[in-house]
Amino acid sequence: MSTFIVENLAFGGTTAPVDSLVKGSTKMWAQYVMAGTATVNGSYNVSSLTDLGVGSPQLNLAIALSTSNGAMWNTPGFYTGTTAYAVQAGGRVSSTTTVLGYCGSDSTTRADWSLGSMGAIG
C-alpha cells in the first residue's frame, strides 16, 4: 500500500485542497431490498446489512469512519412492489461502522421498501 502525501490537486486551472476530496467524498453507499428476503444489490464500503426488523436496515461498514458525526441519506426507490411514491424516510450515522436507516410509509408506520438506497459522507 502506497500513500501520496499532498496538500492540493490541480486540474484545468482549478486547484482544490485534498482535504475537500477526503472529507467531501462519499464514504459508503448501498442499494438494498427489505421486502421478502433482505438483500444488498450493490454497495461500496459495506460489509453487510443487518435487518433489524420492519423498515429498519443497518448497513455495516467495511472500513470504519474516523468519527460518527457524518451525514447520511436514505431514499426509497420503490415503496412496495414497483410502486414509487413519496414516503417518510430517515436515518443516522450511528457509529463509525454502522449507518441506520428508517424506512417509513405514507403514514407514521415503518415499512419494508422493495428498493432503497443509503449513503454516508463525513
Binding site: V40, T50, S68
Partner: protein
C-alpha cells in the same frame, strides 16, 4: 450473492425481534480474494469506540489515526472460503456479547438464504428457534 444469512438475537435487548445479517456481495468477493485486514484491526477500533460510548464521549470521539490506518496497511489475511468469510463477518459485524459470551440458549445461527422466511407479515415478532 451469498448463500448464507446469520440470524441472531441480542441478549442486551431480549424484547427486540431476531436480526438477520446479510453479507454484501462486493465485500464477500474481497474476502475470497484475500483482501481483508486481520479481524483484530476491527476489534481494536470497536473496543475504543465502545469505551468512548460507555464514558459518554461518543459525540467528540475520533479514532486514533494509526489504528484507523491499519485497516489499509495491516498485512492481508489469506483468501477465505464463503463459509470462513461468514465466520469473519460474525466477529466483525455482530456485537461480541452475542457470540463471545456463553448464554443459556443459542444466540445466533448460520442458515442458508432460502431458510429465511420471505413472508414478513409478522417480522417484528420473529425469534430465533432453538
Amino acid at each position: 450473492m451469498s448463500n448464507y444469512r446469520v440470524i441472531f438475537e441480542d441478549p442486551d435487548f431480549p424484547e427486540e425481534p431476531a436480526k438477520i445479517l446479510v453479507p454484501a456481495p462486493e465485500w464477500l468477493e474481497q474476502a475470497m480474494l484475500g483482501l481483508l485486514a486481520p479481524i483484530w484491526v476491527h476489534h481494536q477500533l470497536k473496543d475504543a469506540e465502545e469505551l468512548a460510548i460507555a464514558e459518554g464521549r461518543h459525540t467528540t470521539f475520533k479514532h486514533n489515526p494509526e489504528h484507523l490506518a491499519l485497516q489499509f496497511t495491516a498485512p492481508r489475511i489469506d483468501p477465505l472460503t464463503e463459509e470462513e468469510a461468514i465466520e469473519y463477518l460474525i466477529m466483525k459485524d455482530i456485537p461480541k456479547r452475542v457470540w463471545a459470551q456463553q448464554h443459556n440458549r443459542q444466540m445466533f445461527k448460520i442458515v442458508r438464504t432460502e431458510q429465511v422466511p420471505s413472508d414478513r407479515t409478522f417480522r417484528d415478532a420473529w425469534r430465533l428457534s432453538t
